[in-house]
């Protein structure tokens, strides 16, 4: 079966998404083969839910987005595996954060990934997982110029063999 990609989207927004093609220069078939067995692979997670550690990290910059509605904070955060849900905040103006705060696993299933590692389904999870805030400028300039190289460096430092990304 194929899911309906627009089931939960306001009808008036559908045209914005249906009319989107690829970004300029982003048509080619980018492919990195998954070389290892899952049982010996280290897996990382990345969510765009806007989580941050309340006691040690700044929230994403929502005030600037309020002043400039086409801008979204392109910065990123690391969330260590084992973080207590009560230590997480959410900064995201485009979704209701109640369920994310009640159970962060719905967007960042770090504990479930640890469980799969304990059951030897995967070799392990990275020590840290990655968070961005999903609302961005249309051309993704901020992510391209300021963020993606840092994310790649972090994933390499953690020897990640694969990454599961989940938009919020």
């Amino acid at each position: 079966m194929n899911v309906d990609s627009y089931r939960f989207l306001p009808r008036s927004f559908r045209a914005f998404y249906e009319g989107r093609g690829s970004l300029p220069g982003e048509l080619d078939e980018v492919w990195a083969p998954f070389e290892k067995r899952l049982q010996s692979s280290r897996i990382a997670l990345l969510t765009s839910a806007g989580f941050y550690l309340k006691n040690s990290q700044p929230p994403f910059d929502l005030d600037r987005e309020r002043a400039n509605p086409t801008w979204g904070d392109p910065s990123w955060r690391v969330i260590p595996t084992g973080t207590e849900p009560s230590d997480l905040g959410v900064s995201h103006l485009h979704i209701n954060d109640e369920d994310l705060l009640a159970d962060p696993e719905i967007a960042l299933p770090a504990r479930m990934l640890e469980q799969l590692a304990a059951e030897h389904v995967i070799g392990g999870a990275t020590t840290d997982h990655l968070v961005v805030m999903g609302y961005q400028e249309a051309n993704l300039e901020g992510w391209r110029d300021a963020t993606v190289n840092d994310l790649i460096a972090n994933l390499r430092d953690q020897a990640a063999d694969g990454l599961i990304l989940a938009p919020a």
Binding site: R20, S22, E26, A32, T47, T70, D99, R144, V148, G162
Partner: protein, 111 residues
């Protein structure tokens, strides 16, 4: 997010995107896609439903490791267990986002 996946994949790290809008991820040329018919903010399922969350995560791992070629898409066969109207209202922020306010006021996107 699909483009972010492409940039990371281009650096040699395999990726899979778990998304409520798999058709959009495909047109944005994500290498591997898992589709879910879930409300926004809930890529891995219902709060507290570990069985549902595990089902989505395990499928994502299988697609990440097992997809044979670019553009592989597999959708999760789970119906959201909340009536549509209620679920549709529940995922949306209490206050319209800044860009939506502009759209509602002007009928067009600024800039």
């Amino acid at each position: 997010m699909p483009v972010l996946a492409r940039w990371i994949e281009r650096a040699g790290i395999p990726t899979v995107v778990v998304t409520m809008m798999p058709a959009v991820a495909q047109t944005r040329r994500a290498p591997r896609v898992v589709g879910v018919e879930f409300p926004f903010g809930h890529a891995f399922g219902m709060p507290g439903d570990r069985a549902m969350q595990r089902q989505v995560l395990e499928l994502a791992l299988r697609v990440l490791a097992g997809a044979g070629s670019f553009g592989t898409r597999v959708d999760v066969d789970i119906e959201w267990p909340v009536p549509l109207r209620e679920a549709y209202r529940a995922w949306q922020p209490k206050e319209a986002s800044p860009i939506v306010k502009v759209l509602l006021e002007t009928g067009r996107r600024p800039g």
